[in-house]
């Protein structure tokens, strides 16, 4: 049976039998780095293509359809174009911050990758405060955005960055609270424990209505945190001409663009881990035979399937809903999502104490 665990174990043993322990460890670091960058490039190419296709079909168009079958190589050609373009720095920009910002954004995205469990026993770093680490690091990406907006020396960029700041700071609250709702059930912040606790059913099914409410709030909040429509007023192409990255071109622009898609992947991966069982196959209580059949599908397929489904859901939102105004955006968070998720957390705690869940 195909499993990523087997591949990593094989590499680990091979390296240790050919190199001394310290060099084997170094070689593994390098391999992990290469794998992460490879994953980024792959995600960037595939998700952008997927987004364009989904958007096209929802708007009764065909989307990219010339380069390769169904236009699959279109994004590679676009990347090639972006690499060859000049990366301009405007005259009245703060040169250091301006050039640093795209890297801050992408490095933050890379850091969050560490505790995500892609398949059974396939994880870069199984830290015991995994979920806390993810929420903490993901708030750093706003610094990159603010940096970009501030240093561009352009009022539209500044407005976009400020909006993005207000948005991320507010929506982090309800995202955090909805994550907490599940943490109350699992009793652990460690990603591998959270996945293991869903052995006999995913939390979205086991946790009844509060888990579903938490899931919906998490999806809304994470859409807002990734600055995507209907919450894309940081970019707002029509009024702010792309907001904080107006002044960027070439590869520096591509990094922002890539970071957006990586962040989508990451929030969807977190959502899948917390609510849909991560790499855990679809299990129903004590149906041993059924559970056994489900186990034959490799765990990496489950993980990427669930994440892909959530990504599709977020794309579906983007191409259906109109953009919110800034006051509506803040109203939604502070008047609706936050009170509801607080109440929901309370409800879930009561349920967890009384043991009213499967």
């Amino acid at each position: 049976m195909f499993s990523l665990e087997g591949i990593t174990n094989f590499i680990h043993e091979w390296l240790n039998s050919h190199l001394s322990a310290i060099f084997a460890l170094l070689a593994e670091f390098v391999l992990v780095g290469v794998a992460a960058i490879g994953l980024f490039a792959f995600l960037g190419l595939v998700l952008v293509w997927m987004e364009r296709k989904v958007a096209a079909v929802m708007q009764l168009r065909l989307g990219p359809n010339r380069l390769g079958p169904k236009g699959i190589f279109q994004t590679s050609a676009d990347t090639l174009k972006l690499i060859m373009k000049e990366a301009l720095t405007p005259d009245n920009a703060d040169k250091l911050l301006f050039n640093l910002a795209p890297f801050v954004v992408i490095i933050v995205a890379m850091l969050i990758l560490a505790p995500i469990s892609f398949a059974k026993n396939f994880q870069i770093w199984d830290i015991n405060i995994g979920v806390l680490y993810v929420t903490a690091i993901s708030s750093l990406s706003v610094i990159g955005v603010l940096m970009a907006g501030w240093s561009s020396g352009n009022k539209y960029s500044l407005l976009g960055a400020m909006r993005s700041g207000a948005q991320i700071v507010s929506y982090e609250l309800s995202a955090g609270l909805s994550i907490l709702t599940i943490i109350v059930l699992t009793g652990s912040l460690k990603i591998s424990d959270i996945v293991a606790s869903q052995e006999n059913g995913w939390w979205i099914f086991k946790g009844h209505i509060p888990a579903i409410i938490a899931f919906v709030i998490f999806i809304i909040a994470s859409t807002a945190e990734t600055n995507r429509a209907p919450f894309d007023l940081a970019e707002a192409e029509s009024e702010l001409t792309a907001g904080f990255h107006t002044e960027y071109g070439g590869m520096k622009f591509a990094l922002f663009f890539l970071a957006e898609y990586i962040n989508i992947f990451i929030v969807c991966a977190i959502g899948a881990t917390l609510f849909l069982g991560g790499w855990m196959p679809f299990h129903i209580g004590h149906w041993v035979a059924f559970n056994h059949i489900m186990d034959y599908i490799p765990s990496s397929f489950w993980f990427f399937g669930k994440t892909g489904f959530l990504i599709f859901l977020i794309m579906w939102f983007r191409w259906t809903f109109p953009r919110l105004r800034i006051d509506q955006l803040l109203n939604l968070e502070w008047k609706y999502l936050l009170p509801i998720s607080m109440f929901n957390l309370l409800l879930m705690s009561v349920m967890a104490i009384m043991g009213w869940y499967f």
Binding site: V54, V57, L60, R61, W319, T320, F321, Y336
Partner: protein, 159 residues
């Protein structure tokens, strides 16, 4: 009271969002709804809308007759000066002089396909065709004479 409105708001918002998602979801799963025409591939069976305006033409019937009287209304109506009417004087059998069209010159390269000339024509002599592949290497080819050589006005149009 306040709580009722609060939850009603949430209910209404959710409902309207789901309605929108239902429609886009329907489009996503029903690919036959796609409107895009893949032009060079479907050139043979391309269906253009009736009202598509590609160029001005003057229809001629089987006897090489048209209905243009040479009145110049189209020339006056055209905002771009794309039409030039060159008229001549025929001698009728009774010996009277009568104005008639000699050449109806149409500059396709100046035309914006507004259709005002077609509106202005009192005898419906010209209409918009839906041909659109107009590229040529020499722009003189875009200056067209709409009435065919040797054609004449159909009997009974001028009464």
């Amino acid at each position: 009271m306040f709580l009722k409105e609060y939850f009603l708001d949430i209910y209404k918002a959710t409902k309207s969002l789901l309605t929108g998602m239902k429609l886009t979801g329907y489009y996503f799963t029903h690919h036959k709804e796609i409107l895009t025409e893949e032009y060079p591939e479907n050139r043979k069976n391309l269906q253009l809308a009736e009202r598509f305006r590609g160029e001005v033409i003057m229809p001629h019937d089987a006897n090489n007759e048209h209905t243009c009287t040479g009145c110049s209304s189209c020339e006056i109506a055209c905002p771009n000066g794309s039409i030039k009417i060159i008229s001549k004087f025929d001698i009728t059998p009774e010996g009277k002089k009568k104005k008639a069209i000699d050449q109806h010159i149409y500059h396709l390269e100046l035309c914006t396909m507004c259709g005002l000339c077609v509106e202005a024509c009192p005898t419906d002599a010209i209409k918009m065709a839906n041909t659109f592949e107009h590229s040529v290497f020499n722009r003189n080819h875009l200056i067209k004479r709409l009435n065919k050589p040797g054609s004449k006005i159909r009997e009974g149009i001028e009464e």
